[in-house]
Symmetry: C2
């Protein structure tokens, strides 16, 4: 009988390693050779899985975006109130930093944007759109339910929240401090009136 989806296939292994390098060093600071050495095959073999580096980049953001959307759906379907869901959202970013000091792939690729193939650029914009839309809905509903308290448009607060978290990852890694992330993110929650 067939096993559950073999997640250790070479393609997945390549994606896993490439994602780590992309989140840590950025799109332009890792090579097929870097991947090859860590996965244990020759760099030429990678082209069988991803003919061009742009194909790898596209697959990378597409998968990241899918997984992130899944996480948002899981949080949204949960039983907690808006502050709890917001805390769970923040925790997604905290976990990213704890995972070897990684940045959000969306944020990292946003920094690399003009150097990326256009299809990858579009995926990055999609990642931002996903997050802003989800956050806007959560903030709006939370305020209507008097669970959150802030001034201004939910859409603006959502943008500021996402940007704050992306920036907090950047700063936390620069400081080499998870506490630095915690301080900035705690304040963000406070600023939308999410008492915890």
């Amino acid at each position: 009988m067939p096993r559950s989806p073999d997640t250790s296939g070479t393609t997945d292994q390549l994606l896993d390693v490439a994602q780590e390098l992309a989140q840590t060093r950025g799109y332009n600071a890792f090579s097929y050779r870097d991947l090859a050495e860590r996965v244990g095959i020759r760099s030429a073999s990678i082209h069988h899985h991803f003919p061009a580096k742009g194909d790898l980049g596209r697959a990378l953001v597409a998968r990241y975006r899918d997984r992130f959307s899944d996480a948002l759906r899981r949080i949204g379907a949960g039983t907690g109130d808006a502050p709890a869901k917001l805390a769970a959202y923040v925790d997604l970013f905290r976990a990213t930093y704890e995972h070897g000091g990684r940045l959000c792939l969306g944020g990292m690729f946003a920094a690399d944007l003009p150097t990326l193939p256009t299809e990858v650029q579009e995926q990055v914009r999609g990642f931002y759109a996903d997050n802003e839309a989800w956050l806007t809905r959560l903030l709006d509903a939370g305020r209507r339910a008097s669970q959150l308290h802030f001034e201004g448009a939910p859409r603006d607060a959502a943008a500021a929240l996402l940007d704050g978290l992306e920036g907090a990852l950047l700063a936390a890694r620069a400081h080499g401090s998870s506490a630095r992330f915690a301080r900035a993110s705690r304040w963000l929650l406070l600023s939308v009136g999410a008492r915890s």
Copy 2:
């Protein structure tokens, strides 16, 4: 009689062009050849001004940090109240985006951090420290004077503010929209009770 400091010397020209490329594409996505073509000399000649790329990187952040500190001093020495000074601070970042969709060099190099020579890494951390210290003082004084209104430690608000602005530049460029920056930054000002 000698002219005022010749700012169009080759070294300065190289720094100017390198800064633009660094803010736009990142440290690893521009080469001595890119600089050479734009400045109109041969790439080998650049090594006379900056023997290794790390020297260029260090000079780049050092100058950026100096200029930024000057701007902070100017704002701090101004006559306005805390909300006005905060708005002027935000405007520094807005102007960066308007200047050809550039990111903050500090934020961009924070994204490139692990690929940077260690001396450059230290300068980047220094940039963050400069900004956090300056913002902390401003926020603290502003709240004591009842010109700003927010909860939590000024140091945490300062971190969140800086991170929000770095992230807002990233997002604005991804969206190709100065309005996107305006929305996020306006909300940030609102969140510290800076009525404008």
